[in-house]
């Protein structure tokens, strides 16, 4: 059975860690179903892993105390590529973007390095007080 190439979109806003992670994974489940991909489809699994890394960082750091702006999330599939956008109100992240994969003994600091390896493109920009992330993977 071939995969469906019809466009797919998913939008959500959230502020809570557990809820946000559930939404991110559910959006990939919905995309998998909409495109007729099998559970365990490798490109989509690699994308989901990267999305959880960037999304986990955004959910952990992107909604600091006093923030009223929720995290915004959009997922779009079209023309064989999936693109996710996340925006948050956390501190700037420039300094973390090129972090190498840390030593085996390190318990943290792998997320962005993993996402870079897993995606075709990882975009980031600071827009005023907002971080904007863009994740692209050819499926």
């Amino acid at each position: 059975m071939g995969t469906n190439h019809e466009p797919f979109e998913f939008h959500a806003t959230f502020a809570d860690l557990e809820e946000g992670l559930d939404v991110l994974h559910r959006s990939v489940d919905d995309l998998r179903e909409a495109t007729g991909r099998k559970f365990g489809d490798r490109p989509l699994m690699l994308f989901e892993t990267a999305l959880a890394e960037i999304g986990g960082n955004v959910l952990t750091h992107g909604y600091p105390p006093g923030t009223t702006r929720p995290i915004e999330y959009k997922l779009r599939y079209e023309g064989g590529s999936v693109v996710a956008w996340l925006s948050d109100s956390g501190p700037p992240a420039h300094e973390h973007l090129s972090n190498p994969m840390p030593a085996h003994s390190s318990e943290a600091g792998r997320g962005i390095a993993m996402a870079r390896k897993l995606l075709d493109e990882l975009g980031y920009e600071r827009d005023g007080q907002v971080n904007r992330w863009r994740l692209v993977k050819r499926l």
Binding site: L17, E53, G56, M101, H104, S106, E107, R110, M114, K117
Partner: protein
């Protein structure tokens, strides 16, 4: 899905920590707590983390496994991973931590010779 952990002792005295759910930034503290209890109650722990019920692993979850390895080795113990799914194996390979953690297809295989 929040991580749930159940611990039991195999016939040869090895502690099997069976986790179910997502081992991610949300679930990692639960595994850390469970390993801490094992290390505190077992002098020289031999531990298998049964990953058969873990649907997804992120880098923070992986960090909790590295922390477990450090704690257990500090107590002169040994850690093995069993039954990681395809996604968990990809994460281990991507980070080259598959060179650090011997993992086994099943808990039974991990128990052999442990």
């Amino acid at each position: 899905m929040a991580l749930e952990v159940q611990t039991h002792q195999a016939d040869n005295g090895v502690t099997v920590v069976a986790a179910t759910g997502r081992l991610d930034v949300s679930g990692a503290p639960t595994l850390r707590e469970a390993i801490g209890e094992v290390v505190n109650t077992d002098g020289t722990p031999r531990v298998i983390i049964d990953m058969g019920g873990i649907s997804f692993v992120d880098s923070t979850g992986l960090g909790s496994v590295i922390a477990a390895l450090k704690q257990i080795r500090n107590s002169q113990g040994e850690l093995r991973l069993a039954a990681p799914n395809q996604q968990a194996r990809v994460v281990l390979e991507l980070t080259t931590l598959d060179r650090v953690f011997p993992y086994y297809a099943t808990v039974e295989e991990a128990l052999t010779g442990f």
